[in-house]
Amino acid sequence: MKVLVPVKRVIDYNVRPRVKPDGTGVDLANVKMAMNPFCEISIEEAVRLKEKGVATEIVVVSIGPQQAQETIRVGLAMGGDRGILVQTDQTVEPLAVAKILKAIVDAEQPGLVITGKQAIDDDANQTGQMLAALLGWPQGTFASEIVKDGDKLKVTREVDGGLQTVALNLPAVVTTDLRLNEPRFASLPNIMKAKQKKIDMKTPADYGVDIAPRLAVVKVAEPRKREAGEKVADVDTLISKLKTAGAI
């Protein structure tokens, strides 16, 4: 079974994002970028499926700027087999991403697509679901466990009330949650091997997808600064303070 793993290049989760002074977005100049953590989990899961003999080939796809090649290369060093970069410097909204991915799925015919549940930059949490809808495939979102069971894929989902297990017919789309696995990091020999792996260069036009944004960002602002708190001695003081402040 071929597995397709889309990955996104985002601001490194260790970096404190700064909003541009004009409020048009987050300042990305000279900021360390990295693979979206949920995408790392997706790659890891695909590699584990390959190690178990369930997956035969892992194709790592990214849609983004030239530098997203580096992100694909990280995925290849973790165990991906080859890459596809759909290069664009424009902002690509989730629906456009899903449309491009659908076109890639049509061309590649994978048996499974594993995406992160969301990217930590926009937190949109839409792409996997949209892709499943466009393909008309079953979806298992927020996966915390994936098991191949006969010709079905059993996916344990982290839902509000607890855990839900669904059985999906293949081909399917799965989106990964934080507790699915702990991603490995590349060893030096694998970083070296990844350099030899192939990355196909494409553009959105190659797939006939119009990526013009449908949304306009009105304003991006920093969260309000937290005021310094105050420590109180006991519950009684806390209650009286809250009363004085008119909070209760």
Binding site: N30, K32, Q69, R73, V74, A77, F185, L188
Partner: protein, 390 residues
């Protein structure tokens, strides 16, 4: 090399992977091995498993075939993680120690030993320094005398790092008396041979820091060395040794710089949080400026280190740059550790805050493998053309 934009994609991936490997070994781990003196085995194993020991070894023997620049990124990342020299020195020798073997060994010597050094299976130590000759290597007294099957070595070595667990020793000894040689540096030979505990007695030297990675006094009494353990030609050992010196200086430089940056990070954090006289201590310029100055010094030394590494990787002479980088890096690293201890006040003296360990370890790079004075001698003589003083 902390400026992410200056690194290639591959170098950034290397730094990232080493950072993640080191993240499994937090401050408590290093604090503990510094107290018990236990070798950081789990760390050494993790680095070997990640393939990092082979970063600068040729691909034919299982290395990655990368250069000094990448090796330097690896080692700087190690000390920068807080592992300091307790971490760096545990693997340092695997990285450039085998250079003479790689450059001048026979195909067989390379095929037999290098893959095992890379996998961490073979542990080596490097015995140059002697109690009676010190930095004056040409006056070393250890002798290797010819026998029917090879050589027999007698003598003493001092400071040999890692000899307690080594199964191989890279050792330099005199094969022709100095007064019979055309030049004092001739007549020395290099051997890579079994660390035979029946004939080498290794006694650890109690020392100031880096307790986890021990140094030893070696008493070598009748060590039999088969002829095939000689590296290259007899009498040419010092020339072979020189091949590894410049890269080693660069590694020492960046190791000290990485540790300096680690200390600075700890101090800046503390100076932001610690409130005295109603404000964070870091708001006082008397606290802030020494830290800022250290950052500037570290950054300058870092630039020169990677310049030296680049020259070396391009096959150009890097003697002056490598020596100057080692000098500046060691000083900047130590200064940053000292400034960080001072910024912590009393807590700087407490083990719990780690910076006192950093400071003890940072002293190593100022002394070994070559002292500051000898570096300045080298620059005076070779770069400035001044008369030799000794």
């Amino acid at each position: 090399m902390h400026n992410v934009t200056a690194m290639s994609e591959e170098q950034a991936a290397i730094k990232d992977a080493v950072e993640r490997t080191c993240a499994a070994f937090p401050a408590e781990y290093w604090r503990k091995v510094d107290e018990t003196g236990e070798w950081p085995e789990a760390f050494t194993k993790a680095m070997a498993e990640g393939g990092w020991l082979g970063v600068a070894m040729p691909e034919e023997v299982g290395g990655a075939g990368l250069g000094l620049t990448e090796a330097a990124i690896v080692m700087q990342t190690v000390t920068r993680s807080g592992a300091g020299f307790s971490g760096a020195s545990a693997i340092h020798l695997n990285i450039f120690g085998p250079k003479p073997l790689e450059r001048f060994g026979t195909a067989e010597q390379k095929q037999v030993h290098l893959p095992k050094i890379i996998s961490g299976e073979q542990k080596m130590c490097f015995a140059v320094t002697e109690p009676n000759s010190g930095l004056d290597t040409s006056s070393l007294e250890t002798k290797a005398e010819r026998t029917n099957s090879g050589y027999v070595i007698n003598g003493r070595k001092i400071w040999t790092t890692g000899a307690q667990r080594a199964d191989k020793i890279l050792i330099i000894a005199r094969t022709t008396p100095k007064d019979q040689c055309a030049k004092p540096y001739l007549g020395l030979s290099l051997f890579y041979t079994d660390f035979n505990r029946g004939q080498i007695d290794a006694k650890p030297i109690p020392k100031m820091g880096r307790k986890a990675v021990e140094c030893n006094m070696l008493y070598i009494d009748g060590l039999e060395v088969p002829r095939e353990d000689l590296i290259g030609e007899e009498g040419e050992g010092f020339k072979y040794l020189l091949q590894g010196l410049n890269p080693e200086r660069v590694l020492f430089a960046v190791e000290a710089i990485g540790l300096g940056f680690a200390a600075l990070e700890r101090a800046s954090q503390y100076a932001k949080e610690r409130v005295v006289f109603g404000r964070p201590i870091g708001q006082n310029q008397g606290v802030a400026h020494p830290l800022a100055r250290c950052w500037a010094e570290l950054s300058a030394a870092e630039l020169l280190s990677y310049k030296a590494a680049k020259l070396f990787d391009d096959g150009l002479d890097c003697g002056a740059e490598a020596n100057a980088a080692k000098y500046l890096g060691a000083e900047a690293g130590f200064n940053a550790c000292e400034a960080s201890v001072l910024a912590h006040g009393g807590m700087g003296y407490a083990k719990e805050y780690d910076v006192e360990r950093y400071m003890r370890e940072a002293m190593i790079a100022r002394i070994a493998p070559v002292s500051r004075e000898m570096i300045l001698n080298f620059i005076s003589e070779r770069v400035l053309g001044l008369p030799k003083s000794y």
